[in-house]
Amino acid sequence: MADSIDVLATLKLVYGIYAFIAISLIGWFGYRITKAKDDRTGAKPAIFWTYVAVLAVIGTGLHILTYNTVPWVPYDLDRANIEPAAIFDIAYEDHQMSFSDLPMNVGCGEYVVFNATSNDLTYGFGIFRADHTLVAQMQVVPQSKNDLMWRFDKNGTYYVRSTEYSGPQGARMVARDAIIVTGCDLDDLRATTTGGQS
């Protein structure tokens, strides 16, 4: 099962290749534009409309692709109809996070819900590995339902950090070793030691 590391590594590779192509294309165009004219200007309407169609397919196709390949999208959209194995409540107030359970023990492959409420400002709820890579996050908006359903498929210890700015006093809202996942065959090698800022 792909996790955020796999998804983001793919992004890094694909976007890196795309950026290289885009830079090369403009570099080549800049060179060619100063040279004598030939017939290859791409000025035919058929080419133009094909290009527009390709853009539309890529733009919308990306979302269809991720819906079918990124594991958390379907259950995020359908979370109201999935019975979670556990619900963890997190309350935010005065730049402090209070957890119903700490650490939050999660079984492998179980759907769990992190249910965050804020009594004052807008905060964020982010789950991070020890090497600070992001597993998942959501906004924590006051007067609003902030429920993140997640499923872990690797053993690991994760820290929680507020991912939204709530004023200078909230710049370092971190709960170390907040989530412990056990029972999987695989270990999350980036989440085996204590994380979070000292």
Partner: protein
């Protein structure tokens, strides 16, 4: 000619400000102030870059976030608005071959936006007011963290900017629609409809095309100006709300913060902000590319009817994409996330990609072209959006947003590449192109400096944005402080590239000062000697 002499009087006589028309002077006032505000934003950006590398005693958390609050405001309103408005207030009457509706209103605009930006900046500098530009409710009125005086400075500053913006919008539309003294009655409503794009949509659907009475560049400016005005309405409304709560606190009136629904506020506020990010920028930029391509080549635009219609589509799209900023808000409905956040946003790849294509083909059809400053900066601007728009489309996806929202990817690969490379290089192209028109032929001091400016800005902008973006992929947040060197490799790289950007600006500024001369620069802000309402002097006056 000695260095000091050139510095004072300018290169080859410098800017002869006595011969400038009032319209030229007003545009130059906007642009010069906008360039200086860009410098301020660049210095602020570098201060934050340093803190991201290593903690600095002089910049504590409060100070850091105060800088982060004013940095984008100075960049967007103080710099971009000023340069864009200055150029467009000149170009609308220039292309329409009629006088601007009101020189006084145009003068008031730059004073209000410039003054407002400075007052807003003081809110951060003097009082460390730091709710960030997002103003998420109820942070801006959290008076346990912020001083009320800071909030008042901030709101008053932004209010002045918005008044200046309204005046700009009013002046643009009045210029398009009004009948100058001594002219035959102008068809105001028809001009308005053509400027907005109704006729373009009709032409797209009809076989028999109706002739346009408003040039494409003016239509592009008008459509972006609609978004500018709508954005100003939303920001002004937010400012009024903040004032009510601040004065309530000041006078001891108990006002519950829960009276305002935070998520609804966030939706409305992002709807307005997105008119800048996705509407104004993309429409103005596309329109500016078309203007630049036509002026550089002297030829008509490729697929000009489609370009016109697409600008209208872009305007409508820009009203319906705000939800991509709320894809990590679980209270937001799935329908809005998928329809507005994902699908409609994806259309921006189409509209912006179409603008890139039309501009490139227009240039290609006019080959061979000389690689002038305006052409190379235009290509840089195109590249910036070719990199930044797909980065934005990627993050406007339910799967990717879960692991990218509020990371440095957003602000680096998307925002900074879009603004610094895409938008700013497009504006530099316009500045280099308009320089001889606005100055009656002032000669650039150094082409070598202009070339160095181009390369340093291009490499610095892409390098800094991509270094930040890679840090974001590795989990670095955009509105947090890291003190243990977690992302030092990326941050050192971003700092080095940031230095290149700052150096690029310093070279550009030096080149401009030496071109105009200090006397010429001061002269821009002195009253015009001529009282003509024309954009440029008549040939015998020039």
């Amino acid at each position: 000619m000695s260095f000091v002499n050139t510095l004072i009087n300018g290169h080859e006589g410098g800017l002869k400000h006595e011969g400038l028309t009032p319209m030229q002077k007003i545009s130059l006032r906007f642009v010069v102030l906008g360039v200086l505000f860009y410098g301020l934003a660049a210095v602020e950006g570098m201060m934050m870059r340093v803190v991201e590398i290593t903690p600095v005693a002089a910049i504590d958390d409060t100070h850091f976030f105060a800088i982060m609050t004013v940095h984008p405001m100075v960049g967007v309103f103080g710099s971009t608005y000023m340069i864009v408005f200055g150029a467009f207030l000149f170009l609308v009457p220039f292309f329409m071959k009629k006088p601007i509706f009101s020189l006084k209103v145009a003068n008031a605009s730059w004073m209000l936006i410039g003054g407002g930006t400075f007052i807003m900046w003081l809110a951060g500098f003097l009082f460390a007011y730091s709710p960030l530009y997002t103003l998420y409710w109820p942070l801006p009125v959290d008076l346990e963290q912020f001083k009320i005086i800071g909030g008042l400075f901030y709101v008053v500053g932004v209010a002045l900017i918005m008044v200046g913006t309204f005046l700009y919008s009013y002046n643009v539309f009045k210029t398009i629609m009004y009948t100058p003294a001594g002219w035959d009655k102008q068809p105001s409503m028809e001009l308005f409809k053509d400027a907005i794009g109704f006729r373009a949509i009709g032409n797209w659907l009809k076989k028999r095309k109706t002739e346009h009475i408003v040039d494409l560049p003016v239509a592009a400016i008008a459509r972006g100006t609609i978004d500018v005005g709508l954005n100003a309405v939303v920001i002004t409304a937010a400012g009024v709300l903040l004032l009510i709560y601040m004065f309530g606190t000041l006078f001891g009136v108990g006002m519950e913060k829960t009276w305002v629904d935070a998520l609804l506020y966030k939706n409305i506020f992002w709807w307005g902000l997105d008119l800048i990010a996705d509407g104004l920028v993309l429409i103005f930029v596309a329109g500016t590319w078309y203007i630049l391509a036509m002026m550089i080549t002297g030829k008509d635009l490729f697929m000009k009817h489609v370009a016109r219609a697409a600008l209208f589509v872009e305007m409508v799209v820009s009203w319906t994409v705000w939800s991509h900023h709320l894809m990590s808000d679980q209270g937001q409905s799935n329908l809005l996330k998928v329809l507005s956040g994902e699908m409609v946003t994806a259309l921006e790849l189409v509209t912006q990609g179409l603008a890139v294509y039309i501009t490139l083909v227009t240039l290609a059809k006019a080959r061979p072209l000389k690689m002038t400053n305006e052409l190379k900066f235009l290509l840089g601007g195109l590249l910036g959006f070719m990199l930044a728009v797909p980065a934005g489309i990627i993050q406007a996806d339910l799967g990717m947003n879960r692991v990218l929202h509020n990371t440095q990817w957003i602000i680096g690969s998307h925002v900074h590449v879009a603004i610094l490379v895409g938008l700013t290089m497009t504006l530099y192209s316009a500045i280099y192109l308009l320089l001889p028109i606005l100055t009656n032929g002032a000669k650039l001091y150094s082409q070598k400096l202009a070339t160095a400016h181009f390369w340093l800005h291009l490499i610095g902008g892409i390098g800094m944005g991509s270094s930040m973006g890679m840090a974001g992929i590795d989990g670095m947040l955009r509105r947090s402080i890291y003190v243990d060197g977690e992302y030092n490799t990326y941050m050192v790289l971003a700092g080095v590239f940031g230095c290149m950007l700052l150096l690029a600006f310093a070279l550009f500024l030096f080149n401009v000062v030496m071109t105009f001369g200090v006397k010429g620069l001061i002269g821009i802000y002195l009253p015009a000697k001529s009282d003509t309402s024309d954009c440029v002097p008549a040939p015998q006056e020039a």
